[in-house]
Symmetry: C2
Subunit: 407 residues, 2 copies
């Protein structure tokens, strides 16, 4: 038997599993069928409220790439201060929900047509390089629109213990700190609207102390860059990095302590940053735990003393849960038999998807209530980097459904 991650507290007290007060069969009927992603907006609203309490005065941005489901974007637009985009495709989706002037756009390989679309819409461009600045200025001139430009910095430090390190190394992301002051002066002189700095040191961190250190280093760096440029950044995007506990032994991050430390730092800001606003950009932490992927058991199969529950969805919808997206050692996400009752007898099973490849394993040798055809398996932590980060066409199965509930 192998361990699973902890089921998020938002769901773990209800059994058989209920989401937003209704058993899963209700939502499956409403959506039409499994496989189904259900996102509980009450969970997201609770995260937003927790952020607002811990970070008064700090803007909250939502990273659209975490989950671009249109109904979710509509609901998020009323809760956060801005959207952060990673492509013109995300802009096209997001602008139906929010004024593009509240959005920014980061990404290392922006095409000219993407820069033009973003500038035309009034989106702030987080410049990743001096060459990109030239292309953005050229597009602004061509369109006769003043581009709103910020600079993404490749910091000298990294976020310790983060799942994805974005700083402290050679990188496709951001401008080297030494080049930032001259670039800021150059784009201002060229007539762009100067929007500030974006400094992102890593993501998926569960260590509050590491984020506190990263914020301190970010503020020191921002003050130095602002001083060297002789220009106050109107907004400093501090990045995000708040992780969620996917695996056994991981603990939720204590964001309140991060808020206290940040408030103390901001109370003693140097004059270079006295007029700056600050934003934190979150994706995974806001929406990851809200999502539950529901897939129906097609067959219970015994093979050489092991039991497999074979389901109607798998790696094609939940690539990360199978350990195939940025993971070295495969570990089990939290999973459950959504249709089981409390106290049902259990057995050790593996949960497989329908794809004809041994990679398609949603859970490996976990202890679950005895289940069979017709039962529904829930894979938690499915609200971020789930459906949109999965190879949906692989082996030609139907697309899953999505449903936003609660809130």
């Amino acid at each position: 038997m192998k361990p699973i991650g902890a089921i998020p507290a938002d769901f773990s007290h209800l059994w058989p599993l209920a989401i937003a007060g209704r058993f899963v069969d209700h939502w499956i009927e409403q959506a039409g069928d499994t496989p189904l992603f259900v996102y509980d907006m009450t969970v997201i609203a609770a995260r937003v409220a927790r952020f607002r309490a811990a970070f008064p005065g700090i803007d909250l941005h939502y990273a659209v790439k975490a989950n671009p489901y249109p109904a979710l974007l509509q609901a998020m637009a009323g809760l956060v201060d801005g959207f952060d985009l990673a492509s013109a495709g995300e802009l096209a989706l997001a602008r139906t929900a929010m004024d593009p002037h509240r959005m920014s756009f980061a990404g290392p390989g922006k095409r000219d047509d993407e820069l033009a679309a973003a500038i035309a819409a009034g989106v702030t461009i987080n410049l990743e390089s001096s060459a990109e600045a030239d292309r953005a200025l050229a597009q602004g001139q061509r369109l006769g629109i003043t581009p709103r430009l910020a600079i993404r910095v490749n910091p000298e430090f990294e976020l310790r213990g983060s799942g994805m390190r974005m700083g402290g190394r050679a990188s496709p992301f951001g401008v080297e700190p030494g080049e930032v002051p001259a670039l800021a002066r150059r784009i201002a002189a060229a007539g762009a609207a100067w929007r500030g700095l974006h400094i992102f040191a890593g993501s998926q961190a569960l260590d509050a102390a590491a984020i506190i250190d990263s914020h301190a280093a970010t503020l020191t760096l921002a003050a130095r860059l602002a001083g060297d440029a002789g220009m106050t950044p109107p907004l400093i995007n501090l990045g995000g990095g708040f992780g969620i506990p996917y695996f056994s032994g991981e603990e939720p991050i204590a964001v309140e302590g991060i808020g206290v430390a940040l408030r103390e730092r901001l109370a003693g800001l140097p004059p270079e940053l006295a007029d700056a606003r600050f934003a934190i950009e979150l994706g995974r932490w806001l929406v990851g735990e809200s999502g539950v992927y529901l897939t129906r058991v097609i067959e219970r199969k015994e093979s050489r003393g092991e039991v497999f529950l074979i389901c109607d969805g798998g790696l094609n919808h939940q690539l990360a849960a199978t350990g195939n997206l940025g993971t070295v050692v495969r570990r089990n996400y939290p999973v459950a038999v959504a249709t089981a009752t409390v106290g049902a007898p259990t057995e050790t099973v593996s949960v497989a998807g329908p794809l004809c490849t041994p990679l398609d394993r949603l859970a490996d040798q976990v202890e679950l209530p005895v289940a069979g055809p017709g039962d529904v398996i829930a894979v938690f932590m499915a609200g971020a980097y789930g459906l949109s980060a999965s190879p949906t066409a692989f082996l030609g199965h139907p697309l899953p459904r999505e449903l936003l509930v609660g809130g």
Copy 2:
């Protein structure tokens, strides 16, 4: 500097890169833009011819999951004896190209509606379990159609050195050998058309001796099962498993030796198999090397002494090349600057895609001709498990184009 895999011989002698006799700009213009997958049908036809020469009298099946691009399926239908399917979605695509009576359908979690669609079309079902047999028989009865049923066996042995082991262990795939004879008798007694056995021990093997051993073990197992059942299998699908060399130091597999060994075995078949036909099912080996993924450089960026070429496509189109599909240690696929001339000066670069994640790396610290914006990067070995196995919606970039050329 890190090594790259060898560029397939079909392409390595032409520089700047030409595919089917034309430089890549011609194909990009014809398709409309990058990113673009080009599949060269002359390469595929050469693989088919090599198979036919090495395996006279053996049926050749194409595993549609390797590449379901419609134009490619149309062209393949005239070259191979059958298609192997992994879903009803693949059936819907494939039936526009081939009579479904020449197809078979394997997969561990077939839904009832998939079984019904396949039986109605006359596709042979490779049964993965006794319970699936019951469901297939029930669907046949409901439709008033005799189902064509074969049994997929979970062999006791595995294919040594294969990238994906499919035998020798507890598995969601196939029926345990001890249960096969009774199941074969039962489905025949129930009135199904008995189609034979499917025995698949692994895939992506580069060791011909391992495949020869696997064929010998498969024939021994098939003879035992046929004898115990008292029924000759009309067809024995020997699986596939022929690999292609993705990485530095790997060598192409010598299929001719496998053909000689198989012919010798088939000359001395026991009476239980005397009337059987044999098929080999190939996907990757037939089409993998035919495909080239072309992505244009948006920016050449220097960061702390390292050079990055940032392109308009990456992990969203070529997940496997970034090391995120079933790989433990990331190694470089063969890549090239398609627009460079012979003898151009080189430098050490990393090739990144446009996604805002450090996972989006098509090549890590490789020696390539100096390139910049407008140049085209070619990623080889892109014909199998490329586009259809990638998370195309991730970060909202446009779908790539596809083009079948040559042949």
